[in-house]
Amino acid sequence: MSKRYILLAVVFIGSAFGLVVLPDKHDTKQIPAEKFLIEIYNPARFLSTHQIAKRLIERDPSIFLVDVRTPSEFEEYSIPGAFNIPLEHILDEEWVDYLSQDGVDVVLYSNGNIYADQAWMLIAQQGIKNLYIMKGGVNQWFSTIIQPVEPPETASSEAFDLYAFEKAASIYFGGSFANIESATTTPIKKTVVVRKKKKKAAEGGC
């Protein structure tokens, strides 16, 4: 038998065995921790309630709000146009397409900051871009947009400009400045989630 056949056999078995002894490799899709730390530190991952309110009023189609609270909380109150994905289901396969959309800013919010931030962490470390947190959450939303507080008279003119915007926004979103009827009849759009069946790969092609 040729020596070369033996070499071939040895190489096959050796390289196959090499695969066995290779150390486990970690998921490369995750952003390396050193790089991710910089993203965490970047305040650009937060959007203020004012920015969001403005874009909602302008009917900006490139914003997609995701409510990570429980469905019951979502039923009770949600920001118009929001879509409910509870935190514990945020990684479910069916939402992948919702959370990573081309050219759409996905904004996560909860009552406060923490749950939204945790949801952000879980998704963003997989390399998904255009993902934001609504800073302050629904609580902040209420205290700025729905029930804005008038700034003290000593406040700067910017503060008053902001207040003017808040008042207008409050009317739009049916807050304390809105008419009673309109507020009570405000239809808050609840997005009905149709669970899409996972598309099966097309039949083989021969």
């Binding site: 038998m1 056949y5 056999a9 096959f12 078995i13 390289s15 196959a16 065995f17 695969l19 066995v20 290779l22 490799k25 490369t28 790969a201 083989g204």
Partner: protein
């Protein structure tokens, strides 16, 4: 990172050019290995020429090992590679029908095209019959459709099915392959040589 077309690094037009080149390489390798000769191909079943099984298993082994290494090195996204779907029933029955076709016809579709290319008339006939076979299949398809979709197991890999890691499966496969190579060389020496 591959696969290149999946990540859109190759345009459709180039894809076709590449298709031609890949096809050419495929045809060249098969022809040069002697796959255009039905007598050589069929020798594997009568023990006088084991070229088919050697080429086939070597190619499979090289591809498995190579792809796993490439996946490990991050040159290719192993998870998006197309895994042929498994339909137990149709795969088995289809395999059996093809086994009969192989032993009677002396070719398989790829090799018949090689034979056709170098002017072997049996290759031509086989290929034309192949066309007719596909056509007949389309006629009876409504009748056998339920069987066609029987035993759907999805895009499952054999290592998942056997519940072992890809690496271990490859290792055992490599050992089995080398054993087959050795056994075939022993048989080859014992069987009366056939000239063709």
């Amino acid at each position: 990172m591959g696969p290149l077309t999946y990540f859109g690094e190759i345009s459709t037009e180039w894809n076709y050019v590449i298709a031609i080149f890949i096809g050419m390489a495929f045809g060249y390798i098969m022809e040069a290995s002697g796959f255009s000769s039905s007598r050589k191909l069929i020798g594997v079943f009568y023990g006088y020429d084991f070229a088919v099984i050697r080429v086939f298993i070597t190619a499979t082994l090289v591809a498995i090992i190579g792809l796993l290494y490439m996946g490990y090195f991050g040159w290719i996204d192993y998870s998006v590679l197309f895994v042929h779907p498994t339909f137990i029933f149709s795969a088995t029955i289809g395999g059996i029908i093809m086994g009969f076709g192989f032993i009677i016809g002396g070719f398989c579709p790829g090799t018949s095209l090689c034979a056709l290319a170098i002017g072997k008339l049996d290759g031509w006939v086989f290929t034309i019959a192949l066309f007719i076979g596909i056509f007949i299949y389309s006629l009876v398809f409504p009748l056998i459709k339920p069987y066609y979709n029987m035993g759907d197991m999805g895009h499952i890999t054999i290592s998942e099915y056997l519940n072992m890691s890809n690496a271990w499966f490859t290792f055992w496969f490599a050992i089995i392959a080398v054993a087959i190579f050795y056994v075939t060389s022993v048989i080859r020496k014992k069987v009366k040589e056939v000239r063709y």
